[in-house]
Symmetry: none
Subunit: 199 residues, 4 copies
DNA sequence: CATGAATGAGTGTTCATTCAT
DNA sequence: TATGAATGAACACTCATTCAT
């Protein structure tokens, strides 16, 4: 019997190496050889686990999205909606190395998605799940009387999601301009303002 | 006698060809040859006007930024601040072919900027100018009494800019999900809400 | 306890898989992996039975040659020489799937033999045996008075063998041009003419 | 103005290098790098003149066929048909380095043609032209009363072409067995016999 | 100035072979 | 014996760049 290998585990190992390469080099400069070197395996080994380079990169995108999803799912469920909202939205902002890493991956894939339908679908599904999660919390806040009805929950959720997307990008690209403190201040202001009150 | 050519004019011609290539192929798939073909000049000619491929791409980013700046500068000055605010922010949203084109270019450069300081500086300067323009209008609205003081002008401006960045990206990548109508509805809601709740 | 396997039997099994691959893909496109898949064994197994890929291919050539030899040996011995001659020569022509398969294998090895002495020797021995078989029949025809002495038996045999080689190749490559009917007509004409003009 | 290059001439130069590589290495072992080295140009240069490797190889096949055609066309026209027939058929036999070279190329392409329709068409057209040339001479011999009508001209032509194909292959692969002298002897015997007489 | 021929390093990918299990 | 994971060299092809004309 040959060495027993857990295929899915090995795939994850290689995907993580790919993620580190994307973070370090930018997605345009990632090469199969570099991923191989980063992973510690030979370049030919990648062929056992992925049909081609694009498959590895797709795996990296899925991985990044899964990470965010997992972290959000791990949040405590017993918080009041408004507090939870702030916590959930913070998971998409680059406030620590892990989140900076994930957001960097996402940004690297945005331009690609414009030309690669397969990537666009992946991102679309993930974005949809993310938006629905936020919407659910906003609706819970409405039910709990924590947010006014001046705007519909859908409007509030979409505004928040768009705001977080935009502010996260700025925090990533201009960290000296858009510091963590400033981002949190703006996020809280935005939430509080949508919630109708003075923060 | 060498032929007399207007260097700057020719550079712009080539840069525009580069922009069209980026829009069509994605920045990763742009080749010098393709830009040459698109421009109608030979590939060697590009070498006369740009040190290397990256210089062409930098030129394309500058060009895209200049376009937005020019369009904003061209807006009428005598509008009341709140109306002007809506007009200005719409200039950054992909509501027609021209703006879709420019935003596509921007998105293509975001990931690159994470690894190329030269590109980051270009984007930084432009983003700063853009943010200041919005801030100026918000301050004018404050002075005109069109916006409440619950939030500072700086906060409101940054929130709006982040929101527009995020919603523009979504409109670009998921146009079937985030239609122009929906985007305008959300933009107006965000502005109105920041302006005190009366749409 | 190691499993008892019949080495020679297993080798034949693998060689037959190799033959099918050559027929299907052309000898240039045959890979060890493909032979393994075709045989139902793992790629590593081939290494137990053959030193390297070339050894498998040599085995395939031997196999193809053996097939022809076996079929010729199986022909009835009590036919009159001229009838037997036609039957034997037909065994080298692609008139059914089995013969098409064998001739295809041969053609695939011709070019290789020009550069690989080992293959050339295999083909040489087989061709010699084949030529001698034909010569023996022609000589028998001479003795039986079925062929005139205008040409020596050796000349007639060599002419027939060359003709069959050439017409077989054409029938294989241009089957729509050189149909079975046409080939048989030409073969019979050639034999009859060499036999003195009375078909 | 850049260096002026005659494209067709350069293509021929590269094709000839490819032919030499095929002759030397066998078509399976020919690499683009090797052709480049043989031609004296860099590997990238080949891309200027051929879409891909297959295009180069197709060019090599065309070249070999053209060579035979040209040599046949160059034969004197005022010979009597039967003499001409012998001269023409000898052009397809490997009696000198040039003809050995051409026939080697052809043999290298036979197996490929079984799997590559494009190559098959090339060979088909050439074979057809060659067969028609031989047929024309046989018909002239009939008109000149040099050949009997026991067999039709078409039959005689096809028999001769097949014989020459087969004997040429043998002369190429087994030169020590099928020497030039033996081949010429057999060719003359086959012609004379078809012509109805004693040589 | 403009051309496009030429370069050669670098890419993704394939594949015969090796070898621990 | 049999497996299939792993290797790494070799492949065809791409492309930014150089430069003689």
């Amino acid at each position: 019997m040959p060495k027993i290998v857990n295929h899915e585990e090995r795939r994850q190992e290689l995907v993580e190496a790919a993620c580190r390469c994307i973070d370090r080099l930018g997605i345009d400069n990632v090469t199969v050889r570099e991923i191989a070197k980063e992973s510690g395996y030979s370049s030919g080994t990648l062929a056992h686990y992925f049909a081609d380079k694009d498959a590895i990169l797709r795996g990296a995108l899925e991985r990044a999205d899964d990470n965010i999803r997992d972290r959000i799912a791990a949040l405590p469920d017993d918080l009041d909606p408004l507090t939870l909202l702030g916590r959930v939205l913070r998971e998409a902002l680059p406030f620590d190395e892990e989140r900076r890493f994930e957001l960097t991956l996402d940004v690297n894939f945005w331009a690609r998605a414009l030309n690669q339908p397969a990537l666009r679908e992946l991102q679309h599904d993930d974005h949809d799940a993310w938006r629905k999660r936020v919407l659910g919390i906003v609706e819970a806040a409405h039910e709990a009387g924590q947010m006014p009805e001046a705007l519909s929950a859908a409007d509030q959720a979409d505004i928040l999601v768009a705001f977080v997307d935009g502010i996260g990008l700025q925090a990533l690209v201009y960290p000296e301009l858009m510091t963590r403190e400033r981002v949190e201040q703006l996020l809280d202001a935005q939430i509080a303002h949508l919630a109708g009150g003075t923060p």
